[in-house]
């Protein structure tokens, strides 16, 4: 048989049958021919078929299917792809949840196993009626791609042999059976038990935990795992929203984790550890390719800090609350049909005299709306110390960054403008004046590392450029070391005089020493020193500071 067997009519018929197999109403475009990613390279490394869950489009590599001598399996291949859309995973939000959990159970895993998990689910359904068609694809793949012997692949295929009642060696190479059993005693029994247990589990979360707990045995080095399977990379990657939702939805797994623990599937050391959100972000993004990795991680970290900021700031009402109506309006003639309770009898009697009863006057009540207040919130300049004594905010919670985020968000919600100066040693990062939270949050996640070298010259320059601004320096004891030089202290005093207010928010074990060092500037009317003893106090202190400065 050659590629010509794939006529439009044949494809259309297979497509109809594949749709009928799932017995659900799905909106998918008919399959399209896959254009090879590397036309000059051998086809064996190209995907056989995949579904773009965003575009809802299935692609099939017909030439590869022919090379595999699996032309008759087209319907099963299409049904497999439809299965990803119809049931497994169905949504990329679910896929994201699994990826987050997978990295928690198998930290550092380079290539996600979720696609294998869905394939096991999809193939069970398709295999009920088309097991031989799927077997043909897996056999054909081994003939054409000649994959290196992999314990993971061997175990995976053994499960299908057990599921479909095939003899050992029907899908896996006969020659590998004995070496595999020696390297992993009881593999066959485990594959049988897996096939007979996995599909009977009542909950997909429990299924996934069982899947990970079983498959981890066949992954030699999680951080180096890559695999190539037919139909093994055919589901799209979840986006930032999906991953963010999954990171927040950890509680949904508690019940399944408890049951998995009770069934002795999970290594207690792994599953009992509470999950740090930034660590989880690091895990689910570390295997992504360079550019995408940075973007996705930054977006997820940014959302994490936004939630932390919101925890410290009381949400401002979007519209002013409606006051009770108590002011009387000017009198009008009451007419038949109007509410009798609106009649002001005192006014009616006084003004209408003996005609009061025939022509009463009515007055409604209205609220006394306060005049829009002049907030008078100035521009806010934030100097954020990101020296090596504090962690990179993308990897670990950085309390100073959080404090800056809290102050920036508070100011921006009061319609102020914010400028960030992220410094450490060397040239600081200086933002333009920012008007929206998203941008400010993103900028304040910058990190330099290294020593602390407060940019006094820049402070002087910016204070001349925008004299009325409110300036906040967020640092620790290193700032005192920087400011102890007389020239620096003089610059700080001058900048304080030019600023509306200059506040040093410092983490210090001993306030006394700070008062000694900062004595000259403490005499200035516009200078304030705020000291926090513990790093964890930075967020609440910043929130209180923001309230004191901006909520007047």
């Amino acid at each position: 048989m050659n590629a010509s067997v794939f006529t439009p009519e044949h494809i259309a018929r297979c497509w109809r049958e594949a749709l009928a197999l799932w017995d659900v109403q799905v909106r998918l475009s008919p399959p399209e021919r896959h254009a090879p990613f590397h036309p000059d390279a051998p086809h064996a490394n190209e995907p056989l078929a995949y579904i773009d869950l965003v575009k809802r489009q299935v692609y099939v590599h017909f030439t590869l299917l022919t090379q595999m001598e699996a032309e008759d399996s087209l319907m099963a291949v299409l049904a497999h792809e439809i299965g990803h859309h119809a049931r497994f995973p169905h949504t990329l939000g679910w896929d994201a949840q699994l990826r987050v959990m997978e990295q928690r159970l198998i930290p550092g895993l380079k290539q996600s196993l979720t696609n294998l998990f869905y394939d096991l689910q999809v193939n069970e359904v398709v295999g009920r009626t088309h097991a031989e068609d799927l077997c043909r694809v897996y056999r054909g793949f081994q003939r054409t791609a000649k994959p290196a012997a992999s314990p993971l692949f061997h175990f995976y295929l053994s499960i299908y042999e057990e599921l479909w009642g095939r003899p050992p060696g029907d899908l896996v190479p006969q020659a590998d059976l004995e070496p595999m059993e020696e390297a992993y005693p009881g593999t066959r029994a485990e594959a049988r038990m897996f096939a007979q247990t996995f599909y009977a589990l009542p909950d997909p979360r429990l299924q996934f935990l069982y899947f990970c707990a079983t498959f981890i045995r066949y992954i030699e080095r999680p951080d180096e795992l890559t695999y190539l399977l037919p139909l093994g990379g055919d589901v799209s990657m979840p986006d930032v929203d999906d991953l963010d939702g999954a990171l927040q939805g950890g509680g949904l797994w508690d019940e399944a984790l408890d049951e998995a623990r009770a069934r002795d599937w999970l290594d207690a050391a792994i599953e009992a550890k509470p999950q740090d959100p930034l660590e989880a972000i690091d895990r689910i993004t570390h295997h992504l390719p360079g550019h995408a990795k940075g973007q996705v991680r930054r977006a997820l970290v940014s959302r994490h800090y936004r939630r932390l900021v919101d925890r410290h700031i009381l949400p401002l009402p979007s519209a002013p609350s409606r006051p009770e109506p108590y002011l009387r309006t000017t009198p009008e003639a009451w007419e038949h049909g109007d509410d009798p309770s609106t009649i002001d009898w005192t006014l009616t009697v006084l003004s209408q005299g003996h005609l009061a009863a025939v022509s009463p006057l009515r007055r409604a009540l209205e609220a006394d709306m306060p005049p829009p207040s002049e907030l008078g919130v100035p521009a806010v300049e934030l100097y954020l110390d990101t020296s090596g004594s504090m962690p990179n905010p993308e990897h670990q919670l950085n309390s100073m960054t959080l404090a800056a985020q809290v102050l920036a968000a508070s100011a921006l919600r009061k319609k102020a403008t914010v400028r960030g100066i992220v410094y450490s040693s060397g040239k600081p990062f200086v933002s333009p004046w920012m008007y929206d939270e998203e941008r400010a949050r993103d900028f304040l996640l910058h990190y330099i590392g290294g020593g602390t070298d407060y940019p006094f010259d820049l402070l002087a320059e910016l204070s001349r450029e925008r004299p009325d601004a409110l300036r906040v320096i967020i640092s620790d004891s290193d700032f005192l070391a920087n400011v102890s030089a007389p020239a620096h202290l003089r610059l700080l005093v001058e900048a304080t005089r030019r600023s509306r207010r200059l506040i040093a928010l410092l983490a210090l074990p001993d306030e006394q020493r700070a008062r000694q060092v900062l004595q000259p500037v403490l005499n200035e009317r516009g200078f304030r020193l705020v000291v926090v003893k513990w790093m964890s106090d930075f967020g609440p202190a910043a929130a209180e500071l923001a309230q004191a400065l901006l909520e007047k």
Partner: protein, 188 residues
Amino acid sequence: MVFDIKHIQKQLGETPLVSPYSHDLAVAIVCDTFRLANLRPPSRQDWGDLEKRARTAALWREQVMMLAHVMTATSLRAATAATLRKNVDATTLLQHFFDEVEPLTAEMIRSNAFRQEEFLRKWVHAVDGQVKDESPRESAARLKQLDYRLALQEMSRAEKARKQEAERRARELQEAAVRATDARGWRE
């Protein structure tokens, strides 16, 4: 008469999952099946002995109730009555069957298609019946593949190996965590 396992499973799928019968009623249903084949059913004393032989009496009662449920809900009862040979001793047959299905709980039979098939095939094997569209050799191979007791025995070997591998993996995970921390360039 041959037993159509797939059809029986389909019939089971269309009935309530939980056996509606009490133990005594279940015993009566099983006894009636033997009577339908013109065989003497086990006496009350024999049932008492069967219960005593069981490793866990509660589990055995679950199995009796499931057997009665499967018989009344499907064609298994009629096929059994038609298949049972005249010289069969009902008590010995039941002894053999309950020995074979010993680890299967009612929950397993209800919720796991493989365990359900095993339960049915072991009954067919006990009454010396034939499965539809299968040679005796194929049926024996399938029964061996489905044998939960055998799988549990083989799994113990895998479990031992797993424990050793898990210790090694824990060490490797620690090393990977250290490498990841180093790669980040910042340490607590």
